[in-house]
């Protein structure tokens, strides 16, 4: 009974997220003419909802390792967001933000893994 209830709650959450992605009004920051512009505009909402799911896991996660994994994936999602944002605006420095973010996220994840192992940083 409890298992069926959790399935229903999960399906409701997925429906709410998909309706937010499909039904919200679109942001206006597009200057170029590209095919399938609607998908580009929906991409922002898809990545925003994925970030919300990651933030839920950071808030809820039972152990410290869950939070470390979520923070890693959050950085990766921001990187994809920067890549998509660089196409319609035509500015190349959004990818620079992505590269810097990836470097910082890699070093932070390695440091968190060392901390989880319980050893010093010098070993």
């Amino acid at each position: 009974m409890k298992r069926r209830l959790s399935w229903i709650i999960g399906a409701l959450i997925i429906l709410i997220i998909l309706s937010i992605i499909i039904l919200l009004p679109l942001p206006i920051l597009f200057f170029q003419d590209l095919p399938f512009l609607g998908l580009f505009r929906r991409a922002f909402f898809i990545i925003l909802m994925s970030c919300l799911l990651c933030l839920y896991r950071i808030f809820r996660g039972p152990t410290a390792a869950d939070r470390a994994v979520s923070i890693d994936i959050l950085g990766i999602l921001i990187l994809g967001f920067c890549a998509i944002l660089s196409i319609p605006t035509g500015r190349s420095w959004y990818i620079d933000i992505g590269i810097a973010w990836a470097l910082q996220s890699f070093i932070a994840t390695i440091a968190l893994a060392k901390y989880l192992e319980g050893r010093n940083f010098d070993d």
């Binding site: 990187l79 890549a83 893994a113």
Partner: protein, 107 residues
């Protein structure tokens, strides 16, 4: 034509990103979550970057996105492996339905 191929790559990347984060919510264990969410990296964000490269061509944005793909493919498995090893050494239990534990056998 090449714009449409790039947009198909970006759509595949968005699909993998969203369902990887859904797996981060749904799965029961740290190791299962890690296994689902590292699909976000290689198939999700690298696919988005490759679509950006195909749309933009060989200008500054495209070459920088290729550089970013190389960096991600080199570093993301390293960090995922370090996280799994750290979580196992911190003593986090596996899910009760797990089949085998090679780290425990090696000790």
């Amino acid at each position: 034509m090449i714009d449409i191929i790039g947009i198909v790559f970006i759509a595949i990347g968005l699909f993998f990103d969203f369902f990887g984060c859904l797996g981060l919510i749904r799965l029961p264990d740290v190791y299962n979550r890690l296994q689902a969410s590292t699909k976000c990296v290689t198939f999700g964000t690298c696919s988005i970057m490759f679509g950006t490269f195909l749309i933009q061509g060989l200008n500054a944005t495209g070459v920088k996105s290729l550089l970013c793909i190389i960096f991600l493919i080199l570093t993301a498995p390293v960090s995922a492996h370090a996280l799994a090893r750290g979580a196992h050494m911190a003593g986090i239990k596996l899910w009760k339905g797990s089949v085998c534990d090679k780290y425990e056998e090696d000790k």
